[in-house]
């Protein structure tokens, strides 16, 4: 059967990348492995943002709201009630879905420019509350907790073992990618793309645009929360900074660099930006200049990001 939809980066390339990550995991120096773990966690965050912005054209500047909710959503139950890892993760995800529905209902309804503003406001509110409610969040200093072991039924693995931690995060990244990829290639994804391209026409075709946008918002909140929860687990710590508005800006940069509406592009964005911060940031505090220059370069060369280049040069389609 002839393919009629735009090609995505072939599953084969991705499978090889995953196998490579599996193989090199234990061989890597600790610092690099740790960097990779960060990249993988933020890749989930980046894809979640891309679903919202790249697929349904909703530009949120407040995704850290859900990153923080996910982090505290797992930290607090584990800390106070000693729940196991899976219950903790579930609690975090449920929390994000509930808040995603609530905040999404308001911001998606208002839509357009209001959407951006409302998401910023929500983010600010959560940030300020988390600073203020130190009894709950630990405020600026944050809270530490003991990461519960990963219980797979056939034995327990400690997340304090960096290699376990690495595979644990990698597994979530792969699952997240597969779920989101299936979603955007499903009929629902086609409607989201249609809404992105021409909202009025999509609604003229009988689609309840609000409901689809809300769905994208909630799923994005869910995966953003997952990233937040994993980040808290990996650091065994969360603080008000997890709600920081700066953190809301990062997926925007990743997505612009990598190319929106591709899922893979934002991951490439993370994989380029974070090493710059990690390696250059430690000895040169003005490392943001490099990122700024990179953004300008991308805008000049390929407004559709790195994936735009790959698609037009290698796959012959823009």
């Amino acid at each position: 059967m002839k393919r009629r939809f735009k090609p995505t980066l072939s599953g084969c390339v991705l499978a090889i990348a995953v196998i490579a990550l599996v193989v090199i995991g234990p061989l890597l120096p600790a610092g690099l492995r740790s960097l990779l773990i960060d990249i993988m966690i933020f890749s989930i965050y980046a894809m979640a943002f891309d679903l919202l912005f790249g697929y349904s054209n909703q530009f949120s500047y407040g995704q850290a709201t859900f990153f923080g909710l996910g982090a505290y959503g797992i930290l607090l139950p584990v800390l106070h009630f000693g729940v196991n890892l899976w219950v903790g993760l579930l609690a975090a995800l449920i929390l994000c879905v509930v808040f995603g529905l609530g905040l999404g209902f308001i911001s998606v309804r208002l839509g357009g420019a209001y959407f951006v503003i409302i998401t910023i406001i929500f983010n600010m509110v959560f940030y300020l509350l988390s600073l203020d409610w130190t009894w709950l969040t630990g405020g600026d200093d944050g809270l530490t907790f003991t990461a519960p072991p990963v219980d797979l039924g056939l034995g327990q693995f400690s997340l304090y073992n960096p290699i376990v931690n690495y595979y644990f995060i990698l597994a979530f990244l792969v699952v997240s990618y597969i779920v989101l990829r299936r979603l955007v290639e499903s009929p629902i994804g086609k409607v989201l793309i249609a809404i992105r391209e021409n909202e009025d026409r999509a609604s003229l075709l009988g689609y309840n645009v609000f409901r689809y946008k809300l769905l994208a918002f909630v799923v994005s909140a869910l995966f953003t929360g997952l990233a937040g929860a994993l980040y808290a687990l990996r650091n065994r710590y969360a603080s008000a900074d997890y709600f920081s508005i700066i953190l809301s800006g990062e997926p925007i940069v990743w997505t612009i660099v990598g190319g929106s509406g591709t899922l893979i592009g934002p991951i490439i964005g993370v994989a380029i930006i974070n090493p710059i911060i990690y390696y250059v940031g430690v000895f040169w505090k003005h490392y943001l200049i490099i990122i700024g220059l990179l953004l300008i370069l991308i805008f000049r060369v390929s407004p559709k990001g790195i994936m735009g280049v790959i698609r037009s040069k290698i796959m012959g389609r823009g």
Binding site: R182, S186, K190, I193, A194, D200, S203
Partner: protein
């Protein structure tokens, strides 16, 4: 029971924009299978009429009935699902998607398989066949892989009609599909409309009175929001009032 095959009816349909009366107590009836042209000078309220019918604008007063059911005030996506499709005056397509993808979006509406979030859209062969059939109907089947924004204006108009058809409507509303076309495109789209009218009920808004005369079974003339004449093409061309407000003004 002649009333039985009335598919669309409006009663006292009125739309005001501030002080401007765009539609003024319009009573309109359309039979199933009819190809009706609505003509009238600029600003007569033709587009507004379609917008109110399809729920894109709420009426100030009056009612719209589709197949006997009161659909006044329903959101536009619900009205579409009842079987009314609209192709707007200005080309309204998904510019960055291919012709195939453009038609696909609406085609999904018809199939239950699409409610499963984890089916791969591409694997849904019945939808693909339906999309190909629609493209063939409007003559775009050899351009299915072209990106919509690269099409000629005439082909974009055809694509717009194809998108409207993709949801399999019973009533098709076309707002000036023939405006701004080359002679060849004009003939092409006229033929497509003629062909479609064999299976669908159509309201055709048209500026070009000759085209309306040739295509339509019946013509409604709108002026300043009011229906000033209605009848067979031959009656309309002889109607003094029409000649005055419409034909007269044009010359």
């Amino acid at each position: 029971m002649a009333e039985n095959n009335i598919i669309l009816e409006t009663r006292g349909l009125t739309k005001n924009f501030g002080g401007l009366v765009a539609l003024d107590h319009v009573d309109f009836k359309l039979r199933e299978g009819e190809l009706r042209a609505i003509i009238g000078p600029n600003g007569a309220g033709k587009t507004t009429f379609l917008n109110v019918l399809t729920g894109r604008l709420p009426p100030t007063s009056g009612k719209v009935f589709f197949k006997g059911e009161d659909i006044t005030g329903l959101p536009s996506y619900k009205i579409t699902r009842k079987g009314i499709a609209l192709s707007l005056q200005l080309v309204n397509i998904f510019p960055e998607l291919t012709v195939f993808e453009n038609v696909w979006v609406g085609a999904q509406m018809r199939f239950k398989a699409c409610r499963n979030p984890f089916t791969k859209a591409e694997s849904l062969t019945p939808i693909r066949r339906w999309v190909e059939e629609i493209c063939r109907k409007v003559g775009l089947h050899d351009k299915m892989d072209e990106v919509a924004s690269n099409l000629s204006h005439g082909d974009q108009k055809l694509l717009d009609i194809a998108i409207a058809l993709s949801t399999e409507p019973t009533l098709l509303l076309l707002d000036e599909p023939l405006a701004g076309l080359s002679r060849k495109e004009f003939a092409e789209i006229t033929e497509v409309i003629r062909e479609l009218s064999k299976t669908k009920t159509i309201i055709l808004i048209e500026h070009n009175i000759d085209a309306a005369m040739k295509l339509a079974h019946k013509i409604t003339v709108l002026d300043r929001g009011r229906i000033i004449a209605e009848g067979e093409p031959s009656e309309i061309s002889e109607n003094a009032k029409v000649q005055e407000v419409y034909l007269g003004r044009r010359r």
